[in-house]
Amino acid sequence: MAELTQQLREAVAEGHWDAAIESLRADKPSKAATAIQALPYEQQKRLFRRLPTDLAARLVPAFPYYHAYVLLHSLPMAEIVAILDAMHPTERDDFLEALPEETWQIFTKALDQARQGMVPPEAASPEAPAPAELEPIIVARQIEKSYMQPEGRQIQVVAPIDISIEPGTILAVLGPSGSGKSTVLRMLAGLLAPSKGTVLWHGKPLGESHPNVAIVFQSFALFPWLTVRENVEAPLLARGVTQAERYRRALKALRSVGLKGFESAYPKELSGGMKQRVGFARALAVEPEILFMDEPFSALDVLTAENLRRELLALWTEKKITTRSIFIVTHNIEEAVLLADRVVVLGSNPATIRADFRIPLAQPRDRKSAAFLLYVDYIYKVMTQPQLELAPPKIASAEATPRWQMLPHTRPGSMAGLLELLVDHGGEEDLYHVAGKLLLETDDLLPIIEGATMLGFAKAREGDVQITAEGKAFAQANVDARKAIFRDAVLVHAKLIERMKSALESRSDHTMPLEFFHDILDEHFTEADVLKQLETALNWGRYAEIFSYDPETDTIKLHTGNSLETENLAAEQ
């Protein structure tokens, strides 16, 4: 494989297209596709354009579908039609099937029009110019982070990962909450030393250099006792910049984010959006080489966030800021696809890289375009199906699977809401649609999906969520019957609650301190996670009437069979 990659790289670099095509034809499609993806994207496109139709048709199914889709769209519509027609029918159906609904509709419509000889409106997705091959600014090798628990055990938050930041790109790191993405950001920015591994800044270890970076925080992190101007000037003062120069640079930064005239205001007089503008101005004033952003838009309302994203993009694409690279951590999938040239998806507990791929669409991007939805759908797929290694290159295998099942942090009511929505929509729905309809952020939606999946009420498949027979029964039952169904599902699927129940049954008074379970969980999770696990277990167990909890004594007590509620239930049935 490496051999083919090497051959291909040399042939393409020297413009020997025929030799390149020969070598691709000689190998298996899967290896050929991998080799092509190892090339810089610009060369991939040039090579793909030169492939004979039959070879292209054989290779398309070997690529990840989103990558094949984007590569295909670098060709004129007529050629796309030709390649699709030349594909094996089942492979073609599989490829089209994998596309999210809207993308599929737009794509098939365009194909039909092309077949009828019309020029479709969206002939090809506009593409971003590929960045020149430059030395990365930051290279992190096998960095990992673990924390020592008080009892001396180690809890790993970040598994060894490789990550690099190239100049000229916006890199987005996506992951569910608590997946350690902020920890990764802090290790790369030099705020947190990795437990193992090295971070190189222009080839030198981070400890030996003063990296010129800035961070924009979700909570803005402005000092309320300093005026807007003083907030922006504070980092400059730390660098020994004189008063006059500080003033000039602060005003310049404030002007660039549209805050001229607010220099002497205090942060508390400003709205959330304006506060974050101050955050941006403070970061830009030091002219950082890399601008780190930790969920910069998450604390803002939807419209303000969108507005600010557009302005940031405008500053970036028009090269009005000297920053060479932007590193943004987010849990918002659309935000990542909107902004990023490259996306890294992290898995949690501990953090591993689940996917790392480029988004070669030109800016500004259209949220409604087929290619945009394609990437959104793909990321949902990666995030909801950890077992599914969707083979983009450079996936680090997740070896360290936790021995203990982790309950998703969600409530029975939220799961019921999701299932009711699914019933209303015929039992299956694209995840990004669900997120839109329930007005939920990815971060809030994923635990609900996970919970419903764990209890066997739903299945996540290829970026869709599908209701099961049990789920349907649950969604359509009345309050008491719901509890019974939930109880059965929990006792089968949720190991922690099942263990709590059997532990309670073994006691003569059917009562145990919650502390006991806290101590057991303590050996497997961080303190914050333990508390979340217990909270979820209490929520589920109380809803299912498996046990009751007494906050005065901090104990849980088994719900015995002859309780009033169960009797009522029996009477009704």
Partner: protein
């Protein structure tokens, strides 16, 4: 053409004095600031001259009202100096405890213990030691009182600064780290502003406590020695000794006047100024208002001086410190030398503690069995007396506080009155109360409860009023809608609602009552000793007679009773208050 037209327009509208140059008029406004600066300067000189005067073993306290300003100044200066020392101490102590994890484990429990030791039991020891150190000058006895006041006011300030530092959000630290702020910049732009409000409120509490101890110090006599210091405390005591009602009233009026003036001239402006340090992201509706601060802000002289002298100096200091910090290699870590220093320090402090323990146990074992029984009986009696005092205080303050707190009109009228009454340190009233008791023929067994009540009831009353005022309107409306009776209202809303505040008040009051017991159970007046059974009396008597072993054991017992009761009773109730009875929005 145009400027002239404007000029004419202005002069037509402005009154006559508006024609004078602006600068002169504004200087008039600065006059009070000038005068204040001069008087502070004079006070410093007068104090220094008096301090270095030869030691005067027989102080004559004049009862003429004309002598009062000087006495008031002496008292205020003692408080100011010890406050300044406490402030510096708190910042250093809090800083080290917050950032040095090893030190924190030792320093915070230590602070907790120090906070519960009744300061007045140190009074005799500290005074004797200081007089021995400076036998020829007034300085010794002055330093003794300052050290004592310091021990009464430093701990809560240090604790406040420490917990503020610990509460700084991690992003703030990250901002400082990623932009490489120097420690100086961190202190000035992040840590001090963040801690300011907590520090100011605790300073007010500390200064109020300082008055209590100061008065006790100024009245202090030990056996034959007269350690009295000229000040408001000794004035009041002398007046009570002489049963001179006019002088007593003059003294009390001066004391209240000084306390009210300090409130208006210092605390209110400082609180109003500190409003900008509120760590809030949204502007709050009501802020405190201070005319004195307005005067300072509208001054022309101060900004001018700031621009000319302070700003350039600060800029140079900032840049210098930033540059020297920036030059340091990024390699952090204290290295070997630092580790050896910390080992050395640990060893030295362990040795010192061991030495102290050995010496003290020598003293402790010399206490006889009957003395020991006396101490423990006293401990039991005072424990009952303290709890009884708290009960009485709670019994009248809870209904009164709730009534005041629920009635907004009553609260606006009564709160300032209550504040002024409460601001009079209980120790200042002791001689007067004892005078009345002896005239009425009452004994100190009951009288000491009255004395302790004086110092403690206000803490509870203030907190109950605050709690009643914080009761949410919707809950009060629920009671109205469902037609709750008087008893139901108290049981379902008022008592649970004010519970956290009541507990806070009682915890503070409990500490105050133990402290007051030392004076309340054993009191010198007019050359006579009034006393009753109790641990406070044991402490005072032992100090009076120079029985140091008993003094030590009794003090230790008192500190441990306070600590144990705090841990076993109050802290648990406090946890309950902050979980179950917390009214959340």
């Amino acid at each position: 053409m145009r400027p002239r037209a404007q000029h004419q327009q202005r002069s037509a509208r402005a009154p006559v004095w508006g024609l004078f140059p602006q600068f002169d008029a504004s200087l008039l406004k600065d006059l009070p600031i000038f005068l204040a600066a001069f008087s502070v300067f004079y006070a410093l000189i007068a104090m220094a001259r008096y301090w270095f005067a030869p030691f005067n073993s027989q102080v004559e306290i004049s009862l003429r009202p004309a002598a009062l300003p000087l006495y008031a100044m002496y008292s205020v200066m003692r408080i100011a100096i010890s406050y300044f020392i406490s402030l510096v101490f708190s910042i250093v102590y809090g800083y080290v405890a917050a950032y040095n994890r090893k030190a924190e484990r030792l320093m915070i429990p230590l602070l907790d213990t120090l906070q519960s030791i009744p300061v007045l039991s140190f009074l005799p020891g500290v005074m004797l030691a200081m007089v021995a150190l400076f036998p020829k000058r007034q300085l010794g006895i002055e330093l003794g009182s300052i050290i004592l006041i310091f021990t009464g006011q430093a701990w809560n300030m240090a604790f406040s600064f420490y917990s503020s530092l610990k509460a700084i959000p991690s992003e703030m630290h990250e901002v400082a780290a990623v932009y490489r702020w120097s420690p100086w910049q961190k202190l000035v732009e992040m840590e001090l502003p963040f801690a300011a409000i907590g520090l100011i409120w605790n300073s007010m509490v500390s200064v109020a406590a300082a008055w209590f101890y100061l008065i006790a110090c100024e009245m202090f006599t030990l056996g034959q020695h007269d350690f009295r210091l000229p000040g408001l405390g000794s004035y009041l005591q002398t007046a009570a000794n002489a049963a001179d009602t006019r002088a007593i009233l003059w003294g009390l009026a001066t004391m209240i006047g000084v306390i009210v003036a300090m409130d208006q001239l210092i605390w209110r402006p400082v609180i109003a100024w500190a409003d900008k340090f509120k760590f809030e992201q949204v502007e709050s509706a009501h802020a405190m208002h201070s005319p004195v601060l307005d005067l300072l802000r509208s001054s022309r002289l101060l900004p001018l001086m700031a621009r000319k002298f302070v700003d350039p100096a600060r800029e140079r200091l900032n840049l210098h410190l930033a540059a020297s910090w920036d030059r340091r290699s990024p390699d952090r870590g204290s290295g070997k030398a630092g580790r050896w220093v910390s080992y050395f320090m640990t060893a030295v402090s362990l040795l010192a503690v061991a030495y102290g323990v050995v010496k003290m146990s020598g003293l402790v074992f010399s206490v006889t069995g009957s003395e020991l029984r006396h101490i423990f009986v006293g401990g039991g009696v005072t424990l009952v007396r303290v709890e009884f005092t708290l009960l009485i205080a709670a019994l009248w303050t809870v209904p009164a506080g709730v009534t005041i707190g629920l009635n907004a009109k009553l609260a606006t009228v009564l709160q300032p009155v209550v504040q002024v009454v409460a601001s009079v340190p209980a120790t200042a009233l002791f001689p007067i109360i004892i005078l009345l008791l002896t005239r009425g023929g009452g004994g100190l067994a009951v009288g000491s409860i009255v004395l302790m009540l004086l110092g403690t009831q206000w803490y509870i009353l203030f907190n109950v009023i605050a709690g009643a005022m914080a009761l949410p309107t919707d809950l009060k409306e629920v009671c109205g809608v469902f037609g709750f009776g008087r008893w139901e209202k108290w049981r379902e809303l008022f008592l649970p609602g004010i519970f956290p505040y009541l507990i806070t008040g009682i915890v503070t009051a409990s500490g105050g009552a133990w402290n007051a017991s030392i004076l309340a159970e054993y009191f010198h007046l007019n050359g006579q000793v009034y006393s009753t059974t109790g641990l406070g009396a044991v402490v005072s008597e032992a100090a009076d007679k120079g029985n140091y072993p008993v003094l030590l054991v009794a003090t230790m017992l008192m500190a441990s009773i306070v600590l144990v009761v705090n841990r076993l009773v109050w802290r648990r109730l406090y946890n309950l208050a902050s979980t179950k009875f917390k009214l959340e929005a």
